[in-house]
Assembly symmetry: C2
Homo-oligomer: 246 residues x 2
């Protein structure tokens, strides 16, 4: 592989270049195998020379073109200190918020700026059957390498709608649920009408005022011990689990 | 501060030296304030020259001795790329598993090796009133800087029992609950006898065989969508929330 190509692929770690090329990177055998099995639009696959044996043993890659590149090239492209030997390039699908499925429950991430937490929320949402994630301005990019890693493959089953305003939320026709302290305790909540959209804010600043001014139902996780708050991905998991049961 | 002292404090980022000195570091105004309010055994507090104004504004530190050190010294001690200007040194309390409170519900972490997840579990456990955390050999160190950061102050309300074997678990006199796929779905579980001890394994390898051979009750989180597993801290949160309600 020539250095220009290495540089281009390595640039996909940065949002500006992901947006320009409409591509993102996935790393590791587990994740690339999952992408293949999900039928994800994989533009290319690269394996390092030293991982060639692992590649040959993995049946999932038998009929898939994989380019072997130098270890130091893969290291340059990779976001991790000890890359696992295989990297895939995936297309970022274009999405339109007007086409979001009318009857699907969704998640709205309001200025959620930690990519690791975002990735864990994508993974958790997929587990609970939520495959539509709407993101406000100022949210982290779901295709950030940390978010992709935290998603553990859930990205391949999720549609993302970035840069969506609170105005859209107001007119989206879904019941608006807001994770917040001081709302109805989740165990007292029954019969939430579907479809709903669950709004999660950032841990530091919570859900923004322009969303709280829209008609919504607050959901809180009762505290039995100590602490100011829960991790936002943990809170999302607890609320989604409770919604799945209601 | 002399360079030898900087070096000693900086060494506390490494487990070997935390064990030797029986001390760990906390970083940031939020965390050090929380430590003071919790009555934690703080050996020393260091503030960088450029954060002196923040320190003087913070009433929590008014009657507490804080040493001002050079920015570059604090940077050397810190575990983060952009340190927030204040670092505390806390004593690691000695604990004895024989003294674990007989009637308290507890968590057992079985080879949980990711410090970030460990910290988030400590934070989540404290929220649900669980303040006793038992760790197997091969688990991450709860005083690892990443674990402390993830704990968001919950460490100050938690007692840790490291290097505990499965044999102890067998004779601890608590109902053993194991988070695992293929167990009873959490929403079908009622009247769990207290005290219980919830075992969480690592995401990669689950709970070890020598624990599964002990009499226990499995708890699983039903899947409604896609994915092989949940993040271990998210799973702990969902199960603890369900136990709090049962």
């Amino acid at each position: 592989m020539n250095e220009k190509k290495v540089k281009k692929l390595s640039s996909l770690r940065i949002k500006k270049y992901r947006d320009k090329h409409r591509q993102f990177l996935i790393e590791g055998f587990r994740l690339t195998r999952e992408a293949l099995s999900a039928g994800t639009d994989l533009t290319a696959l690269y394996c390092s020379e030293s991982a060639r044996d692992d590649l040959e043993k993995a049946s999932a890659f038998r009929h898939v073109p994989v380019e072997i590149i130098q270890d130091k090239q893969l290291q340059k492209i990779s976001d991790t200190v000890t890359p696992s030997g295989i990297i895939g390039v995936c297309a970022i699908p274009a999405t339109d918020i007007e086409s979001i499925p009318k009857n699907d429950n969704c998640i709205f991430l309001d200025s959620l700026n930690d990519p690791g937490n975002l990735g864990t929320i994508v993974r958790t949402a997929a587990w609970f059957g939520i495959h539509q994630i709407v993101l406000s301005e100022n949210s982290a990019d779901p295709y950030n390498p940390k978010a992709v890693r935290g998603g553990m493959g859930a990205h391949f089953y999720t549609t993302f709608y970035p840069n969506i305003s609170a105005e859209w939320l107001q007119s989206c026709g879904k019941k608006i649920l807001v994770a917040d302290t001081g709302g109805d305790p989740i165990d007292a909540i029954e019969n939430i009408p579907e479809p709903w959209i669950l709004v999660m804010g950032s841990e530091a600043s919570g859900v923004s005022e322009n969303i709280l001014s829209i008609d919504h139902q607050k959901m809180s996780i009762p505290k039995f011990g100590k602490g100011e708050s829960l991790n936002v991905a943990v809170a999302a998991g607890i609320i989604l689990s409770s919604l799945a049961k209601s």
